[in-house]
Amino acid sequence: MMKNAQIIAAWDSILPDAAAETRMRNAVLAYGDKKRFRKWHRYLIPIAACLLLVAAGYRFRLTRPLHAELDNGIRITYHATQNGISEAMYAYDYEICERELTAEELHRLLPCSAQPDSCHAVFRAETGTFLRAETKIGEVHVHLAREGLPVTDVIVTGETSNAEIGGVPVTFGYFLTKPNSRGIRTAVLYASFMREGLQVYLENGGDEAIREQLGADLGNLVCELLRQDAPDLSEIRYDNGTE
């Protein structure tokens, strides 16, 4: 009778040679890697699509234009001017002198119903000519400069919106600052126009969540300024204030 040991010995002889064993092992492991990759791969496209959507949504949120309905019915648009800020050359190659403007001078410069804060002005020392000034009306910063001089210490470039209010071309735009330590961004909205040789730059900033409101406030102030008489620089000189 056939012995069990003989059957075991017969089966023992059935083994792949070393080359075949390596071939099979490699094929199995490669298949495993491929399957593992495919298992993840099928999620890659939806994940990438979601990330793109989130990125596009985030970018849109940061750069979408702002629209503001003003009290007089005018609708203005602020385009985002992200990454378009550079430093302005803010030095004079002649001697200057400085003083606060009187309330009357301030009214000549900024004729409006709202009362501006105290206004610090810069003059050319040699001639007493007005060069520039800074003040605040409510929460809006106002920078004024004689034509040809830098009106602020930054230059904002990029896409802006142009509107004509009371026949005067006005440029509107806004940008968002980087998030602060609490993750809050500040929206900075600005408007600028030129009137009777005076450049006027207005800036209103605050939490980005209320940027529409900030835009409306700024637009209304621009309308108010342009509704009034043009600024009169003739009576604003350094020697006036020193007398």
Binding site: M1, M2, N4, Q6, I7, I8, A9, A10, W11, D12, S13, I14, L15, P16, D17, A20, E21, R23, M24, R25, A27, V28, L29, Y31, G32, K35, R36
Partner: protein, 155 residues
Amino acid sequence: MQQIDIEAIYTRHFRTVYRVCYAYMKNPADTEDAVQETFFRMIRRQPHFENPEHEKAWLIRTASNICKNELKHWRRTQTNLDSYTDLPAPETESSGDLMEAIKALPERYKTVIYLYYYEGYQTAEIAKMLRKPHSTIRNHLREARLLLKERLGDE
């Protein structure tokens, strides 16, 4: 599902799977394909193995099913094989008369012989593993013994 360790399972069981497949396929090239397909199926299905014995039983059953399916397919497509009689015989391993006799057994007996004699499983365990009635396995074993005895003589 927990990721199965393919390499560890392959190392533990590739000999067993190879022998089961070889009993059916009778040549190393087809055996190699069947072995790979067995492990590929394990990778695709990612079965949950409770222990190494469960692993082994799953692989033996799967290998056996793959080989049977492959042979069925060959039979279906074997139309004019007579015209290929001049081709060289498929490569075989020299494994002695006993192995040749085992390979010549009807397919339903081969796995039973292997599992019973070589792997040392009881007929009840084989029945469970191959999902067949216990009496069928016992009959297959008895018939396989008779056939081997008939072919090899009372050695």
